[in-house]
């Protein structure tokens, strides 16, 4: 605050922005390449765009899309819930409990998910009947394995139990990322371990847990295509059905990929908003939503 504070607030700076000629050249090159690629794809008749369009919304394909989404949702649900339980078990001070969780993770993470799917699907070969009873003693209940574990159950068991092993490591990393002072403060307030976990630790761990979980969900959406081998009737299975009839293999596979891309795009958008939600409190100001960003950048409106 020197003598010139008497002159009042100076005029806001209006500087000429730095020019970036390199960026313009790069943008031009990319635009030309993109136009060439689009042109090549559209004009190449072997892509059979008409054929793709014909089947894209075919009832069986739509049913496959729905099944894929349903499998993704429920497998991730199993994975997340069981993953949280396994993560808590691994952090337990009881060696039997943490050891059991470790063993689970070792097995389910160490073997291919396709193998696990096939094992669940053909469990009947190993145990023709499943029952509940006293070992070597009275059997209360028993049923044919195949009736108990139809294709859907095999698919969900295979995908969900495998996912739980990965999710538990993600959740564990999240829990460990929360400062010890947090659970200490909660304990000092008289909160029990479970309440502390639920109200204080997990909500903060979410910041670390959500991004890789989004990754896992997108990965799961594509991994569901493996259940075509169980067999269960998701998107890829339906598409395979079509191209074994029509022999249009490539067009159908591209169409399926476009469906997968559309679904993963929606998931990515959802992930963005979930991450933003859990950033509350740890960032002084939340990053703008894409809509807000669009408004400030192109319409010059802020807030």
């Amino acid at each position: 605050m020197s003598s010139n504070s008497t002159q009042g607030r100076p005029e806001a700076i209006r500087a000429v922005p730095v020019r970036h000629p390199g960026r313009w050249v790069a943008a031009g090159v990319i635009a030309i390449l993109a136009i060439m690629a689009v042109h090549a794809v559209i004009t190449n008749t072997r892509f059979h765009w008409a054929e793709q369009a014909k089947y894209a919304f075919d009832a069986s394909v739509i049913a496959g899309v729905k099944t894929t989404l349903m499998l993704t949702f429920f497998s991730m649900l199993i994975g997340v819930v069981l993953g949280i339980i396994l993560a808590i078990m691994r952090l337990s001070s009881n060696p039997l409990v943490s050891g059991a969780a470790w063993l689970y993770i070792w097995i389910f993470r160490g073997t291919p998910v396709l193998v696990q799917l096939l094992v669940w699907a053909s469990l009947g070969a190993l145990f023709p009947t499943l029952g509940l009873g006293i070992p070597f003693g009275h059997l209360f209940f028993s049923a044919r394995t195949f009736d108990l574990i139809p294709g859907l159950a095999a698919a969900l068991l295979g995908l969900g139990l495998n996912e739980a092993a990965y999710m538990s490591e993600i959740v564990r990393a999240g829990i460990l990322s929360v400062d010890e002072g947090q659970s200490e403060a909660a304990t000092a307030l008289g909160m029990t371990k479970m309440l502390t976990l639920r109200r204080i630790v997990l909500p903060q761990a979410m910041r670390v847990i959500v991004p890789p979980t989004g990754n896992e969900t997108i990965s799961m959406l594509k991994t569901t295509s493996l259940v075509a081998y169980v067999p269960y009737y998701e998107l890829l299975f339906k598409v395979q059905n079509i191209y074994t009839r029509t022999y249009q293999v490539m067009p159908m596979l591209i169409m399926a990929s476009l469906w997968y891309l559309a679904m993963t795009s929606i998931l990515m958008t959802g992930q963005y908003y979930i991450e933003r939600h859990f950033a509350r409190g740890s960032l002084r100001t939340l990053p703008p939503t894409p809509v807000q960003r669009f408004r400030t950048r192109f319409l010059g409106i802020s807030g």
Binding site: Q182, A186, A188, M191, T192, L195, I200, G281, S282
Partner: protein, 254 residues
């Protein structure tokens, strides 16, 4: 004589091979401010954490308001308390940490209301009223809806005090509440603590603020190497220390 709020008899505590508390004897009278000073590593925090059973003592006895901390005594035998009972004991003891430890994902109001609602199961409206009053008392009524990251250190520590008070504790533990603060922010926290003392709260304060100890403290102990070296009236101990170790320590901090 009334029953002491805190009574420690020959309290021992080790971490593995490291013996941190070596026979602590202390009595804290109700409605008094009890200060603990001493060099870093002398076991002040550990002792404070034993009082609300964040740490388990190895030997001796530690009672708050006549109740053993963390144990039931039946037929001359000590039984470890279940988690639920220990938690219930802790509800009556507020603790304020050097590093605030506010819950960053909750607003200021959320921090203060969390435990009364979810631990004591009180009705939201009642808690809201009490929380608002407490935040007014620590001078933060205009920050209720901010997140902790948007507050200064001094403001965060005042929220932490309000959060502890929301559980209506009978005893407050302060572990170097101003040590992490910029010098110009220390006063606002000490003022809140001073008011709390005037209102008759029983307080145990680990601190390096000798002026606070002198002006507000009713009793003071100097700890070093896991033992109480010297104790007495804060004004006497601080101006006329009897032991060589106390003199050396005070000559460094005063």
């Amino acid at each position: 004589m009334t029953q002491p709020m805190v009574k420690a008899e020959n309290v021992y505590k080790s971490f593995g091979r490291l013996e941190v508390l070596k026979g602590i004897n202390i009595e804290v009278a109700p409605r008094k401010v009890f200060c603990i000073i001493g060099p870093s590593g002398s076991g002040k925090s550990t002792f404070l954490r034993c009082i609300n059973h964040l740490e388990k003592i190895d030997a001796g006895r530690l009672a708050v308001n006549g109740e053993l901390v963390g144990y039931h005594e039946r037929g001359g035998l000590l039984h470890e308390m279940r988690e639920r009972d220990v938690a219930a004991q802790r509800r009556k003891i507020g603790m304020v940490f050097q590093s605030f430890n506010l819950f960053p994902h909750m607003t200021v109001l959320g921090n203060v209301m969390e435990a009364p609602i979810n631990v004591r199961g009180e009705a939201k409206a009642i808690v809201l009223e009490r929380a608002t009053k407490l935040l007014e008392r620590v001078g933060l009524e205009d920050k209720m809806n901010n997140y902790p990251s948007q507050l200064s250190g001094g403001q965060q520590q005042r929220v932490a005090i309000a959060r502890a008070l929301a559980m209506e504790p009978e005893l407050m533990l302060f572990d170097e509440p101003t040590s992490a603060l910029d010098p110009e922010l220390v006063g606002e926290v000490l003022d809140v603590m001073r008011k709390l003392a005037e209102d008759g709260m029983t307080m145990i304060v680990v601190t390096h603020e000798m002026n606070f100890a002198r002006e507000v403290g009713d009793a003071l102990v100097f700890m070093d190497g896991g033992v109480v070296v010297e104790s007495g009236n804060p004004r006497d101990v601080l101006s006329n220390p009897q032991h060589e170790r106390t003199k050396t320590f005070l000559s460094k901090v005063l």
